[in-house]
């Protein structure tokens, strides 16, 4: 090679490399699963299609008439349907809010986005990492994280969207929250948050059915290097924090049972993950499991292996979770009830238990609980340093008087 500039060799570095066989097989299986026609495809016969369309029109007309009559009889008392909300992604295709500020947006049936909450103007809040609505739909629990930044806003917030009151749990109020904070202030906030919440960066928040408590996970897994992400409970006013001893190495994606006595969780953030901490140590591969456990850490029960991001249905009979082949449904005792519903992603049940919202790299979709009626609502959602959690349904039995209220920057 003497006489040749080594830089010229760089252009030749594009030959094939065989990946691990296990990885190649799993990826092929995932691709073929995604390519298979779904069982909700229309029948091929034209006559059957015509009959099916006519039947659907009749059903729709009957439903519309029934809805009209019902609304006419009780317009004043009927709660509005729940609306689906997502985290606005900086740099991604879910947009509509200020591109540099964290925001929560409601997704309309036509895919249009409407900002429900946005980081106060001129305040760098960090990245929204997860959210959950209280059972009445009035309070928003929101976690924000940031790596290497200087925001005093990161942490767990409970925001009353009707009044705009923003409670930053476990963190004392600081003056001039809109400004970048000096290191001494960040250290003080970090110590206070660790005492009150168990860590600085809580995420994957879930609201208990009684509206009084929140579950979240805590730990440094944001660069896939953490080993101690744990499950915690806290009262909505910021008091009474305690860890749920799950008996597992890690815990992710808490979801309460409807009676609030148990919580479902996963042992990894995705169904299958690979961690590599150091070049000297071989990569470690983990398969996630979904369990349920009582809030005191007792009576842990396995629901599924190779699964993550569980979501407990409102009637308590079903747990939806993410697998490598898509969303699957199971009973809490672990009986798989159905084949893979949709290609994949993290599920969230609608409050009436009739639909699932799913978010993954392809964006946000809605599917009926029986696997029919798949609708893709938004574009890509995978951008952003920290990614997004999962969508959240906002119950609207109590209609907020004010939309788009922003937290008080003076807090």
């Amino acid at each position: 090679m003497s006489g040749v500039d080594p830089l010229e060799l760089l252009g030749r570095l594009d030959g094939p490399i065989q990946p691990r066989p296990a990885f190649a097989d799993a990826l092929l299986e995932q691709c073929l699963d995604a390519l298979e026609p779904r069982h909700w495809s229309l029948p091929r016969s034209r006559a059957v299609r015509v009959v099916a369309v006519l039947a659907a029109c009749l059903v729709l007309a009957a439903a519309a008439t029934a809805t009209y009559l019902a609304l006419r009889g009780s317009a004043a008392t009927t709660p509005r349907p729940a609306e689906l909300t997502v985290i606005a992604v900086r740099g991604g295709r879910i947009t509509g809010a200020h591109p540099d500020l964290a925001a929560i947006q409601a997704v309309g049936g036509d895919g249009r986005l409407r900002t429900v909450w946005q980081c106060p103007e001129h305040t760098w809040c960090g990245d929204a990492t997860s959210m959950a609505w209280s059972p009445g739909g009035r309070r928003l629990a929101l976690t924000l994280g940031e790596i290497g930044g200087r925001s005093g806003y990161v942490g767990l917030h409970v925001i009353d969207v009707a009044t705009g009151v923003d409670h930053h749990l476990g963190v004392p109020p600081i003056p001039h929250v809109a400004r970048e904070q000096p290191t001494s202030v960040l250290e003080r906030l970090g110590r206070a948050a660790t005492r009150a919440l168990g860590c600085i960066l809580p995420h994957q928040v879930a609201w208990a059915p009684d509206g009084k408590r929140l579950a979240y996970v805590c730990g440094d897994d944001l660069q896939q290097g953490g080993i101690a992400t744990t499950l915690h409970l806290i009262n909505a006013d910021g008091t009474g924090q305690r860890r749920i001893r799950t008996g597992t190495r890690t815990a992710y994606w808490p979801s309460f049972s409807p009676d609030g006595s148990r919580v479902a969780f996963a042992t990894e953030p995705r169904p299958r993950v690979t961690y590599r901490h150091d070049t000297e140590i071989p990569a470690q591969h983990f398969v996630s499991s979904v369990y349920t456990v009582r809030l005191d850490g007792s009576e842990r029960k396995l629901v599924a292996h190779g699964a993550s991001a569980p979501a407990w249905s409102p009637d308590g009979t079903t747990i939806a979770y993410e697998t490598t082949c898509g969303i699957r449904l199971s009973t809490p005792s672990g009986t798989v009830a159905d084949a893979c519903l949709v290609p994949g992603g993290r599920p969230a049940w609608s409050p009436d238990g009739l639909r699932l919202a799913v978010v993954d790299d392809r964006g946000v979709s809605i599917v009926d609980a029986d696997g029919t009626g798949l609708r893709h609502l938004t574009g890509n959602s995978s951008a952003g340093t920290l990614g997004v959690g999962r969508p959240a349904w906002r119950p609207r039995s109590v209609a907020p008087r004010v939309e788009d209220r922003r937290p008080d920057p003076g807090l």
Binding site: D5, P6, D14, L27, I147, G148, A383
Partner: protein
């Protein structure tokens, strides 16, 4: 544009449809190339596997919409390139991350000239390596690289100059 210098077998240049057997044949040809593409640019098996998975997931989603793809190898490399640039941007934005797994990419090469080049490339700091790959392998211009990194053109030129010196030194040390 990102380079793809190796000739492909005839089957991989043909059309691709939703047929499972056809996809398997395409996958057998495309997977090692896409994986190698990502591994050499990221230097980490874990990151390369993630990006490969993202690439194929996006490819399948696009295939289901288009139903038929002409010249599928070029097509999937277009997707891979987008995924890689997204990854670079995320890294540049976060300014933190796991250390590069310098041994991974180098160990995949034989100890010939190309292998020594890969080893030398793996031995220089991450930002310099990314800049060199974007400039000399992927043929991006300096302003384009500056946009990827979110830095000034002058800073990227300085990065490239240091990277070239470090790469040549590492290459010659490997020869000795």
């Amino acid at each position: 544009m990102l380079a793809m210098t190796h000739p492909e077998p005839a089957a991989a240049r043909e059309r691709l449809s939703l047929d499972a057997q056809e996809f398997r044949a395409f996958y057998a040809v495309a997977l090692p190339r896409v994986y190698g593409f990502h591994l050499r640019r990221c230097g980490s098996v874990a990151v390369a596997e993630d990006l490969t998975q993202e690439t194929f997931a996006a490819a399948v989603a696009e295939l289901k919409k288009a139903r038929r793809i002409d010249d599928p190898i070029s097509w999937i490399f277009g997707i891979a390139r987008h995924k890689l640039l997204d990854h670079y941007r995320r890294q540049a934005r976060s300014r933190v991350g796991p250390p590069a797994d310098v041994a991974d990419a180098a160990s995949a090469e034989d100890e010939d000239g190309d292998g020594r080049a890969a080893s030398a490339l793996a031995a220089i700091p991450r930002d310099q390596r990314l800049a060199l790959v974007l400039r000399h392998v992927d043929d991006l211009s300096v302003p384009e690289i500056a946009a990827v990194f979110g830095r000034s053109v002058e800073a990227v030129e300085s990065l490239l100059a240091r990277g070239r010196v470090g790469f040549r030194r590492a290459y010659l040390e490997g020869a000795g």
